[in-house]
Structure formats: structure tokens, C-alpha cells
């Protein structure tokens, strides 16, 4: 069993020996596919530029091209460059050079933390006050419009800050009843009750706690979606965008050095416009350069060339929600909800335009390769028409777009529509950037510390316990291999600088179990027991001590992991794994070696 556990540990730590290949990664944006055609054109470009490569890989979402060195990597990126258009992102990556047979059993190398790889870590906070503010404003507007529509007369409707509610002032007791009835039926997730603290006819409308947490959750989810989209634009290999706690988002961009640019792109807002297709304009004339002054030509939009009026019918900030579903014929559709103001604007606008085509324009800010006087990368406004649909009738607050293609495309469109209406702004509350030179230095320093510490302990143990020290050293080496093996096996575990410190510390403390056993054996020998008996007793009586001591340390490690963040977690993981593996190697492992060496023989003296 020991041999098996060790073999597995060694097997899974093996990928770390192979290092990484510099690679170029090509992936599609907004549903654009990568396929063999793209791969062929990329390979053709590399051939033309006379760049040799090791291997190409095509998976469902990306093309990976392994290159011989990092010089070639940069050249290849230039060669491929922007030729694939804006729908594809070309990024530099480091692909693990794990042999296929190791890869097949799921053995992957350790993931390095940002402090070792270099890169940016952002912690962003979603402004929840703003999200709630918006909801209140929304409620105010909607109530006004709806009560008016129902012909229920009210004096005022405004937000009551102290009571965290919307106060609806009415004129009579009857109105209160009808209004309460109506509002309760019309709106889900609110509690409507009469304000008993005043003598007026006042209703208070409060959001239920579930509704509030739904708003919070939605605000975070939406921001995560938008950030993911933008991170993809940045062309970063293996980015991480993750929710942390109630209202925070962690963004990690390995390898990104220019944090100013990253921040600008992450912070830029995407917006949406609804505009009318210019039905009088001549598209072919416009394509030849004669664009009517009232219109704008979108030549390579997602839906093909299209001529749109410059006048904006409605801006995207009126969108409250957008989702995809199926219509009565089973075709995908996108449902859009507008706020009340947007609803009346839309209604007024579509009234005169039934039968005409309306387009949705998605506006974003993208990085360019041009730099301004300060060396900053300029942002360019990119507009793309993401949908064109015929107005079937007068539209209100809720309407739908059909015929937008496949279900995936409808889903994508809904996502983009939502992105246009950011519920809550985000701000960066924490930033950590590690330059590439520091990352490499940290790796070197960490490795040196591990080697030096390991060497010192090996020498000490050998001198102090002689042959038994050698046994302990074998166990210690096995322990180190197993820690790395287990770390590589756990998918979420990343190695950080504090993690390396944890490994170093474990090396120092791992020998403790053996020290306990060996000191016991020495004591037993002093009590004039035979060597065999001494070994037997030594292991047995040290066991409970070792278990107690390690379990308590393990408790500390688990708590560190539960409460700590980032770097602390990295330390806690290695410490906890180290405790588990060191107990195994020290108790089971060394006993096996000792038994094999000294077991079953008559010995007069032990080398301890």
C-alpha cells in the first residue's frame, strides 16, 4: 500500500518536471466559433512568417499553438495579429508541456499564484446602495404610471428614506384599499401596508428581504457577466472572475502588466442604443461612399451591412431585464423589459413606426495599439449592430425580439442587452500587481529556501540519528513529493509564496513525528530493552502523541483556510496537506523501512 500511495504521489507530481511551452491561444468572442478553417489560416500565416511550431491543438473553444521559445511566441502573435478580425482574440499563454499519457490520467502541473507568475489581482465591490437606489426610483416611477393607469388618485409618491420604503399618499380610505389591493396583485416581492403612525391616508411599500437579496444577487451576477466579457476582450489566458462574499468580485489576470489599461477596460461602460433602420436610404449607394447625412453606415456588423438613422430612439439604460426563451412556435426569442419611462418612450416611438425595422446597437470601448502622449493606450469606441427586427405593433414596457437566430444567439443577445443596463457601478477596493521580474524572483527565492531548509534538516538528522536518520530523510523526501503530488491533484489549489513558506515549515515540522519515535526508542534502549522490543514500543507509544499533536495543528490550519483570504489560504492548504502526508510517511512509511531493515533479525546494537 505504501508503495502504491507513493507511486501515485510521484505520478501526479511528475507533470511539474516538464515545464511549460510558450503558446499562442486563439479564441472566439461573442459566440464566434473556432474551427479547422481558422486553424488552417493561422497555420498558413505562421508558415509565411517562417515561424516553426511544435504542435497545434483545436478544442471546442480555442486553438492552441505551441511554439519553441518565447521569441517565436511574440513573433507569432504579431504575425497572426488582428488578421482574424475583432471576433477573435489572440493571447499569449503558457501551456503545460505534460506528456499525453500523464494528461490522460488527469495529472496536471501545479498552478502558480499571481505572486509567482506575475499579473494583476483586483477585488471589486458592487455599489449596493446604488443598486437599491435605482430600484426605489424605479418603483416610484412604476407606481405613478400604474396608479394613474388604474385611475387611482394619489397626492404624492416618494421614497421614505427613514422607513426604507416608498410612501404613497392617497386621498381617502377607499383609495387606500383599492391601491393596496392593486399594488399587491401587480407587484411580487413587496409588502404593502398602511402607515399607522400618521393620520393621513398613507400606504407604505417595502421590498421583502428576499427581493432585496435578489436585487443584490442580480447586481453582482450582472457585473460578473460584463466583466467576463471585457476580460475576454483583454486577451488574457486563463483569467479568473469569481464572486467573493455578498457583494465582491475577484478578478485575476495572470501575465497582465499594464494595469492602467486593464482598469480602463474593466471600468468602461458598455451601452446600447435602439435606432431605426433608414428605410429611405440606399444601402448600395452608401456602400459606395454616399452615406446620407442623417444616417450612419455599419459595414461589417454582426447582421451584415446596414444603414441606420443617427437619431437614437431609446438608450439602453431603460432596460431593466432581458432574457431568452421560446415563442409559441418553439422558436427562440428575447424578452425585454423596460422601465416606465422607457416604456412610454418606446410606445410613443413605435406608434408611428409599425412595419419599420429597428436595430439594436451595442457600444463598447476597446483598447487599441495606438498610444497617446503619455504612453497610454487609447480606447476606441466600437459600435456593433447586434440585432435588426421588424416592429410588429406598438410596443410597451415588455416586448420581445424574435427571429434572432439560434437559441445560443438569443441567449447571447439577452446577455448583451443586459450588459447595456448596468444596475450598480463597481469600484476597485483592492489591487495587487506583481511584475514579471518579481514573480520569477519569488519562485527562485522560494525554491532556494525549500532546498536550503531541506538540506540542513537532512544533514542534521543524518548526523544526529545515523541510520535511523537516513530512514527519516527518505520519509521526508517522500513527504515533499507527496505534498506536491496532492497539491497538483486538487483542482483549485494554487501555489503561492506563503504556500512555499508552508511547505518549508512542514519540512521542519514533519521530522517531529520521527523525532518523537526515535527518542522513544532511545529511551526504551536505555531501559535495557532489546532493540526489537525498543523499536516496537517506540512506535506504539509515540503514536497517540503524534496523532494528538497533529490533529490540533490541523485544526489551526483548517480555521486559517476558512477565515483567511488569498495568500493565507495558500499557506493553510500546504500546511494541512503537509500534516496529513507527514503523518503518513513518518508513521507508516518509516516503520515499513525499519521493519524491512532491522525486522526479524537478532540485533545487538541499533544505529540510532
Amino acid at each position: 500500500m505504501i508503495v502504491m500511495v507513493l507511486a501515485i504521489g510521484a505520478l501526479y507530481s511528475a507533470p511539474n518536471l516538464y515545464g511549460e511551452d510558450p503558446a499562442i491561444q486563439v479564441s472566439g468572442l461573442r459566440g464566434a466559433e473556432v474551427n479547422t478553417l481558422i486553424l488552417d489560416s493561422v497555420v498558413a500565416k505562421l508558415d509565411r512568417a517562417q515561424i516553426s511550431f511544435k504542435k497545434t491543438e483545436l478544442t471546442t473553444d480555442r486553438i492552441l499553438i505551441r511554439l519553441n521559445n518565447s521569441d517565436d511566441q511574440l513573433k507569432a502573435k504579431e504575425a497572426i495579429g488582428d488578421s482574424l478580425g475583432e471576433k477573435y482574440v489572440v493571447a499569449l499563454n503558457l501551456a503545460p508541456a505534460t506528456p499525453a499519457w500523464l494528461d490522460a490520467i488527469g495529472a496536471t502541473p501545479l498552478k502558480l499564484g499571481l505572486d509567482l507568475r506575475g499579473g494583476v489581482h483586483f477585488l471589486m465591490e458592487v455599489d449596493m446602495d446604488e443598486a437599491l437606489n435605482k430600484s426605489f426610483t424605479q418603483m416610484e416611477q412604476d407606481f405613478k404610471a400604474d396608479l394613474r393607469g388604474e385611475k387611482i388618485r394619489y397626492r404624492t409618491i416618494k421614497r421614505d428614506l427613514a422607513k426604507e420604503a416608498i410612501r404613497v399618499e392617497l386621498r381617502s380610505e377607499e383609495d387606500i384599499e383599492t391601491a393596496q389591493d392593486f399594488l399587491e396583485k401587480r407587484y411580487q416581492g413587496y409588502s404593502v401596508f398602511e402607515d399607522s403612525s400618521t393620520n393621513e391616508f398613507d400606504l407604505l411599500v417595502k421590498m421583502t428581504p428576499e427581493k432585496i437579496s435578489e436585487i443584490r444577487s442580480y447586481a453582482v451576477e450582472q457585473n460578473i457577466t460584463i466583466i467576463r466579457n471585457r476580460v475576454n476582450e483583454l486577451g488574457v489566458a486563463e483569467p479568473l472572475v469569481q464572486r467573493q462574499g455578498q457583494d465582491r468580485i475577484v478578478v485575476q489576470l495572470p501575465g497582465v502588466q499594464d494595469t492602467a489599461r486593464a482598469k480602463e477596460i474593466l471600468g468602461a461602460t458598455a451601452t446600447l442604443d435602439f435606432r431605426l433602420v433608414d428605410k429611405n436610404g440606399d444601402l448600395s449607394a452608401a456602400l459606395n461612399g454616399r452615406v446620407p447625412p442623417r444616417s450612419k453606415l455599419y459595414k461589417d456588423s454582426k447582421v451584415g451591412p446596414v444603414l441606420l438613422e443617427k437619431k437614437v430612439a431609446l438608450t439602453g439604460d431603460h432596460i431593466i431585464d432581458a432574457s431568452s426563451s421560446f415563442d409559441e412556435y418553439g422558436m427562440p426569442q428575447v424578452n425585454i423589459s423596460l422601465d416606465s419611462k422607457g416604456g412610454s418612450k418606446m410606445s410613443a416611438f413605435t406608434k408611428d413606426n409599425v412595419g419599420n425595422q429597428m436595430a439594436v446597437v451595442f457600444i463598447e470601448y476597446k483598447k487599441t495599439d495606438k498610444q497617446d502622449a503619455n504612453g497610454k493606450f487609447k480606447l476606441k469606441k466600437v459600435e456593433d449592430v447586434i440585432s435588426v427586427a421588424t416592429i410588429q405593433g406598438r410596443l410597451g414596457r415588455d416586448f420581445r425580439i424574435t427571429g434572432s437566430g439560434s437559441q445560443a444567439e438569443a441567449h447571447n443577445l439577452a446577455l448583451l442587452l443586459r450588459a447595456g443596463a448596468l444596475i450598480a457601478p463597481i469600484q476597485i477596493v483592492e489591487e495587487r500587481t506583481v511584475g514579471p521580474s518579481l514573480g520569477q524572483e519569488n519562485i527562485d527565492a522560494g525554491m532556494n529556501a525549500v532546498l536550503l531548509g531541506f538540506g540542513l534538516v537532512l544533514i542534521f538528522m543524518l548526523v544526529y540519528y545515523k541510520k535511523f536518520g537516513l530512514v527519516a530523510n527518505v520519509a521526508l523526501a517522500a513527504n515533499l513529493v507527496m505534498i506536491i503530488g496532492v497539491m497538483s491533484m486538487i483542482p483549485g489549489a494554487t501555489l503561492t509564496l506563503p504556500g512555499i513558506a508552508g511547505i518549508v515549515l512542514t519540512v521542519g515540522m514533519a521530522v517531529d513525528a520521527n523525532v518523537l519515535i526515535f527518542e522513544r526508542i532511545r529511551e526504551e534502549l536505555k531501559d535495557n530493552r532489546s532493540p526489537q522490543q525498543a523499536i516496537h514500543h517506540g512506535y506504539d507509544s509515540a503514536f497517540s502523541t503524534i496523532a494528538d499533536a497533529n490533529i490540533t495543528t490541523f485544526i489551526a490550519a483548517v480555521i486559517l483556510f476558512a477565515v483567511g483570504t488569498g495568500p493565507i489560504k495558500g499557506f493553510a492548504i500546504t500546511l494541512a496537506i503537509g500534516i496529513a502526508t507527514s503523518m503518513f510517511t513518518a508513521i507508516v512509511g518509516t516503520r515499513a523501512i525499519v521493519n524491512a531493515t532491522w525486522g526479524g533479525k537478532r540485533i545487538e546494537k541499533l544505529s540510532i
Binding site: T259, P425, T433, P498, T545, A557
Partner: protein, 319 residues
């Protein structure tokens, strides 16, 4: 080879009044230092910005300070970090800055730009920015982590051994934590997240030591027929002394390795742990054991569970 070849029992407990006074003195000293000097909290806890820049030649701190003044960061501290070519610039969090403006987030990038303009060999090594709210939360979380760890350990040791040992070992842990943090306060070394991790590791280490000693005391209470509590504790400490020393030495060896070659970022961590190992070894002998002794530990308290069950209705407070 053996560190100490002891034939006789060392009378550890005979000087326990003296060591208790010594420990109290250290604790009072630490607390006094918290009150007067305070703790030099790192960026992780206070919030603010930090930039590490390296140059090809020795950095001219005066010039950098001038650039910082020019940029309007008068309260920035500029100092060397590790070598004369590396510079660390710190700034307190900007309290008045509007949190939504790009200004407060872009501080690091702006400074980097003006430093590159001053000397083009300037390369960014790291930029850190921590919002004041995040810093405060971390401090709370850190304290909470420490407290939870102590309580869990108290419960485990009380279950596994006896409440007197539990009180003894947790007192020893608190003793170690207070004095280690006290050292950081007295010397004014920066207290950041890695130091907090180190302190929690000290808890783990010191506990390891204490458990080993307590385990032996329990064993000897059951095994040795004669001798009072003090003698038995002395014998146990003497028997485990070699192990205590060897483990402390191996741990100290790797920590010295970390301190020497582990790099600047890990220095605080290694310092805290190295000191913690020394103080933890001392406390497992003189704090944990002598408190258990002071609380009146006796043979009857440590009888196997079968016996305890029969007397379960007895007040455990009775000696």
C-alpha cells in the same frame, strides 16, 4: 549522538515562580508597548497604496521624494527595500477622494509614469492598493480567526486530556501570541497578512509542543507510583527535553533558510515564526505545565475514562 545525556531529573518546576514572573513581565511589557507604541500595521490592514520600483543603479531617494511631492503625495514614505536599487513607496489611504473617481484607483499607475519619466530604468515590481474598508475587515477577520482557533483547541484538549491541561495550553498559546506581537510592536516591524499567518502557525507549533509534554505527563501520572505532581512533571519534562530541542532545531533551521534566502516579502513571516518557535518551546515547559500544576492537577484527574465514568457526577472542580 545526543544533545543532552541526562541521568538526573531536572528540577524545572522549582523555578516556576521566577519564570511565571518573567512571563508576566514580558506580557505586561508587550501590552504596554501596544498601548504606547501601537502596532505598525501593514498595508493589508490599514488600506492605502504601495509601489515597489527597482532601478538599474542605486536609487536617489531625495529625487523620488521630490517627484512624489510634485505629484501631491506629501505624506508618502519613500524607503529602500531589500537593496539600494529597490525602493518602496507607501501612501496612506486617501480619505477625501471620491470613491467612484478613477483618481484613487489610478494612483499607482500615475506615480509609476512620473517615475519612469524621471529615470527610464525604473521598472514596476509590484503595486498594491487596499481600500480602507477592506483593511478594517481583514483586521476583524484576523482577530476572529485567532479567537476561533483558540476556542476550538481549548475544546479539543479539554476533551482529549483534562480541563487543567486545556487551560494551561491555551494560556501558553495566548502568552506566545501576545509576546510575539509584542516583539513586532517594540521593534516596529510591519505587521501584515503573512505575519498574521505566521502567528497562527506559531499557535500550531507551540500547541504541538505543549501536547507532546502534556501527553507524557499524563502517561507518567498513570505509570509512576510514587512522587508528587511536581516530581512527575519534572520527570516528564526531562524525558521530552531531547525531543523538544531536536524539533525546535530542525524547525529553526528551515526558518533560518527562509529568512536568509526566502526573499524580502517573506522576512516578516520568518521573523515571527522564528521568535514564536523559541517562545513556544519555553512556554510549553514553563507556562502550560506550571499552570496545570498550579491548578492542582493530580493522579485522579487523569485516570482512564472507565474510572471517570463512575465518578462522572462528581464536581470536576474538586481537586
Amino acid at each position: 549522538m545526543q544533545l543532552l545525556n541526562l541521568q538526573d531529573t531536572i528540577k524545572f518546576m522549582s523555578i516556576r515562580r521566577f519564570t511565571l514572573a518573567f512571563s508576566l513581565l514580558l506580557i505586561i511589557g508587550s501590552l504596554a508597548s501596544f498601548a504606547t507604541k501601537g502596532i505598525n500595521w501593514g498595508l493589508d490592514f490599514t488600506g492605502g497604496s504601495l509601489i515597489e520600483v527597482s532601478f538599474d543603479q542605486s536609487a536617489d531617494l531625495q529625487k523620488i521624494r521630490a517627484v512624489m511631492d510634485e505629484q501631491g503625495f506629501r505624506d508618502a514614505t519613500v524607503q529602500n527595500f531589500g537593496s539600494s536599487k529597490d525602493v518602496l513607496i507607501r501612501m496612506a489611504p486617501m480619505e477625501n477622494a471620491d470613491k467612484t473617481t478613477a483618481d484613487s484607483k489610478m494612483v499607482g499607475n500615475r506615480i509609476m509614469e512620473s517615475l519612469t519619466a524621471m529615470d527610464e530604468t525604473a521598472t514596476m515590481r509590484r503595486i498594491e492598493f487596499v481600500g480602507p474598508s477592506v483593511g478594517g475587515e481583514l483586521r476583524e477577520q484576523g482577530g476572529l480567526a485567532m479567537l476561533t482557533a483558540l476556542i476550538c483547541i481549548l475544546i479539543y484538549v479539554a476533551m482529549r486530556f483534562e480541563w487543567r491541561f486545556a487551560v494551561g495550553s491555551v494560556s501558553a498559546l495566548m502568552h506566545d501570541v501576545i509576546i510575539t506581537v509584542g516583539l513586532f510592536s517594540v521593534l516596529g516591524i510591519e505587521f501584515d497578512l503573512t505575519v498574521l499567518a505566521a502567528i497562527l502557525a506559531v499557535i500550531g507549533y507551540s500547541l504541538n509542543d505543549t501536547i507532546v509534554v502534556s501527553d507524557r505527563i499524563r502517561e507518567n501520572f498513570l505509570k509512576m507510583r510514587q512522587g508528587d505532581a511536581e516530581e512527575i512533571i519534572d520527570t516528564s519534562l526531562t524525558q521530552t527535553l531531547n525531543r523538544t530541542m531536536v524539533t525546535s532545531i530542525t524547525t529553526a533551521l528551515v526558518l533560518v533558510a527562509l529568512l536568509l534566502v526566502g526573499g524580502e516579502l517573506i522576512k516578516g513571516f520568518a521573523t515571527a515564526l522564528l521568535f514564536g518557535v523559541v517562545i513556544g518551546t519555553y512556554s510549553s515547559i514553563y507556562v502550560a505545565s506550571s499552570i496545570a500544576l498550579g491548578l492542582g492537577i493530580s493522579k485522579e484527574d487523569l485516570m482512564p475514562t472507565v474510572v471517570e465514568k463512575e465518578g462522572a457526577d462528581q464536581d470536576p472542580m474538586m481537586p
